[in-house]
């Protein structure tokens, strides 16, 4: 906190991330005012989340006592969510649509829910990438203080990537599924009415809405600009640094994975050639024909296994790595927005203080609103950060174990092939033995 900020308006900025809990899940004196009061300023519209707001002091105390449990839950939302989840979404079944104007792919979005916000318990709609993009923009603009999960890349270079190839569609669909699941699991975002619309409406009439909203989005950015941030609270600075370093590491891991794929592909080429030499040698032998053909066959099997490994890596592992890079970008932009709103608040506050000193006018409402906004932003961001960290841990655990599994699987296939060859040759040997001793 900068020295210039007046003490009367304390902020949650000083405390480390771990100790600050989301206003909607735990209580702190300052924040409870915001929660109980005006819900406009940057907070989500609509109903509170399942962990209900601390309306009374007794529940406040309860909240405090349950701190540890809640902290643990926040770190692993999957544990909590698994028990209390009441919204399930899936993206699958890609289909190609050909019209005179364009060709595109739609995906089936299935929803199962017990929430009252939804009229029916089940929904099934078809959506295309554009629709997901619309949803994301809507979420970003209506929940500017929250981290919105990223979408897979929008633009693909025609001619370089085949937009309708099975692999591409499969990869994109998995990413879209992940996006939607993350939104549905978010305690705040999942209650966003735009999400509701996306999941339920048969035909998204969005064109007008899209045009309008983008203008609104612009204006929001415009207002926030022009203010310079004095001092960023340490924890947000730490977040930014972490993201930068993590981005670097991800980049390195991506490069290593790509390099391995390349080396494996070159190895595969040589291995194929190697296998054929055995087979051609077998042609000029009699006793040795079987063993040579056997070895050639094993090598071919290993080639197949290696190919599968490579495919698995490029389809399942690499896209997830890249997606996290996008996630980092989203997070960084949210951090920037937070900085902006803090800068705005500080700027206005300074101006107001000066005026107060001059002509004793009371603190303008807009300054208070700004403060609220900053507080909310900080709180939301911290909660989302925790959630993001937890997701990241889970995702990477899954990713890396998946990678290990693929490699193990590859070796198992190869081992089985070689072992069966030895059995085969061994049997032949015992066959020969018995026929000779007879």
């Amino acid at each position: 906190m900068s020295v210039g900020a007046p003490r009367s308006l304390a902020s949650s900025g000083q405390k480390p991330i771990a100790e600050i809990l989301h206003p909607l899940s735990a209580a702190e004196e300052q924040l409870s005012v915001t929660v109980g009061g005006d819900k406009e300023a940057g907070l989500t519209n609509g109903t509170p989340v399942e962990t209900s707001s601390p309306a009374s002091t007794s529940s406040l105390l309860n909240r405090l006592q349950l701190d540890d449990d809640l902290e643990a839950d926040i770190r692993d939302p999957y544990a909590e969510a698994a028990e209390t989840r009441d919204l399930f979404v899936t993206v699958d079944d890609p289909k190609k649509h050909v019209s005179t104007m364009e060709t595109y792919i739609t995906y089936r979005v299935s929803t199962k829910t017990s929430r009252v916000e939804f009229d029916l318990p089940e929904y099934c709609v078809r959506r295309r990438y554009q629709d997901f993009d619309w949803l994301r923009i809507k979420l970003e603009d209506s929940q500017p203080t929250h981290l919105i999960p990223p979408l897979p890349e929008k633009f693909v270079m025609k001619g370089v990537v085949d937009r309708f190839s099975e692999d591409f569609v499969e990869t994109r669909m998995k990413a879209l599924d992940k996006f939607l699941k993350r939104v549905a699991d978010h305690p705040v975002l999942s209650f966003n009415p735009h999400l509701n619309t996306f999941l339920t409406t048969k035909d998204l009439n969005k064109r007008q809405g899209l045009a309008l909203l983008s203008k609104v989005g612009e204006s929001v950015k415009h207002v926030a600009g022009g203010y310079k941030l004095r001092a960023r609270p340490a924890e947000f600075g730490a977040m930014g640094e972490y993201l930068d370093t993590f981005n670097q590491k991800l980049g390195t891991i991506d490069r290593i994975a790509q390099r391995i794929l390349k080396e494996q592909s070159e190895y595969l080429t040589e291995l194929r050639e190697y296998g054929t030499v055995y087979s051609s040698w077998a042609g000029s032998e009699d006793e040795l024909r079987r063993p040579l053909e056997g070895v050639g066959g094993c090598v071919t099997t290993c080639c197949g296994a290696l190919e599968d490994l490579g495919d698995g890596m490029s389809q399942d592992i690499l896209p997830v790595l890249r997606e996290y890079v996008l996630y980092i970008e989203s997070m960084k932009s949210v951090l920037r927005k937070r900085d902006q709103s803090q800068a705005e608040y500080e700027g206005r506050l300074e101006a107001a203080v000066l005026r107060k000193q001059e002509d004793r006018t009371p603190m303008p409402l807009e300054v208070e609103k700004c403060q609220d906004k900053v507080e909310c932003f900080n709180a939301d961001l911290k909660a989302d950060w925790e959630r993001w960290q937890s997701n990241k841990r889970h995702d990477f655990k899954q990713l890396l174990t998946g990678m290990a599994d693929k490699n193990i699987n590859h070796y198992e296939k190869c081992q089985a092939a070689w072992e069966s060859l030895i059995t085969l040759l061994q049997d032949k040997q015992t066959e020969d033995k018995t026929s000779e001793t007879n």
Binding site: I253, R259, E270, W281, P291, K397, A404, L425
Partner: protein
């Protein structure tokens, strides 16, 4: 002893018994190293050569011959090439050079049988002396497929392998190869009785002189002669031609395989080593994580171990390559026997032709009938017959030549026939040996692959455990 139990001994056959998997896995454990030192067999005692698994197949090939008829040297004597050392000395042009010498140790078999721990006799030999021995054998026994020496220079190298003759790994592999050569020669039913060979094993000094004294170099067929025979021979034995064709095939396939294998090894090396980068980045990443840190760090170590594991794997595979190389060079020895046949057959044909021509001349001269065009015939027609005394002289000369010619043909027939007979026996022996050895080499290779897969599974499973703890 445990190793032997898995071998079934049938007269004339050595094979790996039913428990082949068990055999190999037992061999791979260090505790068995002691057991593998001595293989005791009824009547036969193998040398206590350092039996690493890789040479078991070759040894099996060797022992098969031991049970054949004929007392082979190996029955009576234990042979091994124990060490290699660098020496400095003056060469033939009086210049300083560095070379490697190999220690050849021998011990009478009965000493081993009686358990007497007698110190072996030993002497030092250079590679060039082995070459000399082999060249002598090649010339002296042209009907034998003479076992090859390990390669003179490192070939079929992949990038990590050194092509330097002084490189310790190369020297070590050569030592093993030289030992293998001696064992093969000493267990050959014909070659093992050679005096020069015995001399080579026992007398360090003066051996070279003895070899040169045999005058074998003079007996060597000139290349030109041999090449000419190959082109001009009319009726070579079909079997030998087939065998020659086969030797070409064998050579072509083994060299192709060796080249392809080297390229594969190169690539595989790259794949494994790049994984080492994961180790580094996981380590760096773990430094900035709270809960994930430990898991990542340990996983990184396993990735490092994975990357390092390829070195041993590929070194092991070099021995497979050595086995293939032996047969690559054997193919050439086989071809040499076939070429010798072409030569003897050609010389027989030439001698026969010569004889026929002489007889024809004699006939013409004695009967006056000219059957074929000859210059003499023409001049006779043109200028008249020559004087009767001259004619008689020439007839006598021709008769002498014919007698010589007939002897010559007789000799060449025998030479050719003997060569065919003896060579056929040895080529058959060679074929059986080759089939056995290469079959076992292939099985050995499969075993190596399995071991590599198991290691890979182990490492990735370890890494997976760490990931799960993240």
């Amino acid at each position: 002893m445990s190793l032997l139990n898995s071998y079934r001994v049938c007269p004339g056959h050595w094979t790996l018994g039913p428990d082949i998997k068990g055999v190999w896995s037992r061999c791979l454990t260090p505790e068995d190293h002691h057991d593998t030192q001595v293989l005791m067999m009824p009547e036969m005692l193998l040398s206590h050569i350092d039996l690493s698994l890789r040479f078991l197949p070759m040894l099996c090939g060797v022992t098969a011959q031991m049970l054949e008829e004929g007392s082979t040297l190996l029955r009576r004597m234990e042979i091994c090439v124990a060490e290699a050392e660098k020496r400095n000395g003056k060469n033939t042009v009086n210049m300083q050079e560095t070379f490697t010498v190999y220690l050849v140790e021998t011990r009478p078999m009965d000493a081993v049988a009686e358990g007497r721990n007698q110190a072996p006799d030993s002497l030092w030999r250079r590679y060039s002396e082995f070459e000399l021995l082999r060249n002598y054998l090649l010339v002296t026994y042209p009907y034998i497929v003479v076992p090859p020496l390990p390669e003179k220079r490192a070939e079929f190298v992949w990038h990590k392998l050194s092509a330097d003759n002084m490189d310790p790994d190369f020297v070590e592999r050569r030592r093993v190869g030289l030992e293998n050569f001696l064992l093969r020669v000493a267990s050959h039913p014909v070659l093992s009785n050679d005096k020069i060979l015995h001399h080579f094993l026992i007398e360090e000094h003066g051996w070279k002189e003895v070899v040169y004294e045999t005058g074998f170099q003079a007996k060597a067929d000139s290349r030109l002669r041999a090449l000419s025979a190959t082109f001009r021979v009319r009726n070579p034995d079909k079997r030998f031609m087939e065998m020659k064709h086969y030797s070409d095939e064998l050579q072509s396939h083994t060299s192709q395989l060796l080249r392809a294998r080297a390229r594969v090894a190169d690539r595989l090396y790259g794949v494994y080593k790049v994984h080492g980068n994961y180790g580094r980045v996981f380590s760096e990443w773990s430094a900035m994580e709270k809960e994930m840190g430990d898991g990542l760090q340990s996983a990184g170590h396993h990735m490092d171990a994975y990357a390092a594991s390829i070195d041993d794997i590929l070194e092991e595979e070099e021995h497979y390559a050595d086995q293939l190389k032996e047969y690559l060079f054997y193919a050439e020895a086989l071809r040499a026997v076939c070429r010798k046949h072409e030569l003897t057959q050609f010389e027989f044909e030439m001698a026969s032709q010569e004889l026929v021509s002489k007889k024809q001349q004699h006939e013409e001269l004695s009967t006056g009938i000219v059957r074929t065009f000859s210059f003499k015939g023409m001049t006779n027609k043109l200028f008249g017959q020559e004087a009767p005394e001259q004619r008689e002289a020439r007839l006598k000369l021709l008769e002498d030549l014919i007698a010589e010619g007939e002897e010559d043909v007789q000799e060449k027939t025998v030479e050719c026939g003997e060569h065919v007979e003896r060579a056929w026996v040895d080529m058959h022996r060679f074929k059986e040996q080759k089939d056995k050895d290469l079959r076992e080499a292939l099985i050995n290779y499969a075993v190596m692959q399995i071991s590599m897969c198991k290691k890979g599974i182990q490492m990735w499973s370890n890494a997976k455990e760490c990931f799960l703890k993240m």
